[in-house]
Amino acid sequence: MPAEIEPAVAERRITLLETLDRVLNKGVVITGDVTLSVADVDLIFVGLRLLLSSVETARDLRLSREACLSPHACPGTADRGDGRQA
């Protein structure tokens, strides 16, 4: 996803890969009632890697990510990074 690699200090656009890495791998781990085994989580990376290896597909996904993080859907998110530059 070359367009995301910009010389700016703070990336205005969040990379999809970073989001996936955080949401899937990090965060509070607590045993809920519905549980996924470690093997399940590892398995998804295979599919995702295949998907993301296509630049065109990755671009589409970034667009869909931007859509789901639109100011309408999520107040405050659209300002990520921008407001910090002043």
Binding site: V9, V28, V29, G76
Partner: protein, 296 residues
């Protein structure tokens, strides 16, 4: 704020509903209500003492263990749901300290969510206090391997000598030049690896002073992607590789100082072959507790 309307202890398995928890936050009235991850159900806040969970109902048809495992094999479904999870956590983060949950932390009833909040109350409250007035920032380091190799040839005395020898051999003894060139390439690559590792260490050290905590994640964890992977960036004729993946917890008031440090690195060292790119603020995914037997 919308409190959960379902009576605790109602039997959700009968109507095929479970509760997806996005985040834990301190009890407060000023949090936005956003659409949940499925079916347009709004996010609700399930309170327990001084903390509460941001959650929404999800269907067991899609989110019970077996269908979930199948859905997670569909990259498009997964990507969409991950982005929605993130958007909901970010909406909360805009107003409140937040502990983001790992993807698909799901309970059978609001009562089970409350039990979880009670069981881990002290650790969750401590963690919320810890992340209060702090932000998570990502810093990625991109190595320009061509640039690193050029610097090695320019600055390493042994390689300088070999380059001169090669120039002479190319003129006088082409056969020897062939082998000499191979040796020189091998040594250049060794030196390139050394320079890259050195710059990576120096970059992490340079940021230490402006962060509360710093986590060094493999670039990128679990993805197993190398040079040809999607984290390589092409600029002009050369390729950059992701070689450093940091998560930094920064005091909100110190974010400008932290970003200035990143900028300073790029101005002073960036042209030597390691460029830093910051992203954020993120919910503090890398700085939260990990309970239970699913920690990994």
């Amino acid at each position: 704020m919308t409190d959960v309307s379902r009576p605790p202890g109602s039997s959700p398995s009968q109507d095929g509903v479970a509760w997806y928890v996005y985040a834990v936050l301190p009890w407060c009235a000023e949090v936005p209500v956003t659409a949940g991850i499925e079916g347009g159900h709004p996010t609700v806040f399930i309170p327990e003492g001084p903390i509460m969970a941001a959650a929404s109902p999800v269907s067991l048809a899609a989110f019970d263990s077996e269908p979930l495992r199948r859905n997670m094999e569909d990259p498009r479904w997964l990507t969409e749901k991950v982005c929605q999870h993130e958007a909901i956590v970010e909406a909360v983060m805009a107003r409140s300290p937040v502990l983001p949950m790992k993807f698909c932390t799901i309970f059978r009833s609001p009562g089970a969510v409350r039990r979880m909040l009670r069981e881990h109350a002290i650790q969750l409250q401590e963690a919320l206090e810890f992340v209060r007035d702090k932000e998570e920032w990502g810093v990625k380091g991109f190595a320009h391997r061509g640039c690193l190799r050029e610097a090695a040839i320019r600055l390493d005395p042994q390689l300088c000598e070999m380059a001169e020898e090669l120039a002479r051999a190319a003129r006088d003894t082409p056969g020897r030049a062939f082998f000499l060139k191979r040796r020189m390439n091998d040594l250049t690559e060794q030196r390139r690896i050394g320079r890259e590792a050195d710059l990576v260490e120096r970059a992490a050290e340079a940021l230490q002073g402006s962060v509360v905590q710093l986590v060094r994640n493999p670039p990128l964890r679990g993805w197993g992607i190398g040079r040809a992977g999607p984290v390589s960036a092409t600029s002009g004729h050369s390729t950059e590789d992701l070689v450093l993946n940091l998560a930094c917890l920064v005091v909100t008031q110190g974010v400008q100082t932290f970003l200035a440090e990143v900028r300073r690195w790029n101005e002073a060292v960036g042209d030597q072959g390691l460029r830093l790119v910051a992203s954020g603020p993120w919910p503090p995914y890398n700085f939260v507790p990990r309970f239970g037997n699913h920690a990994r």
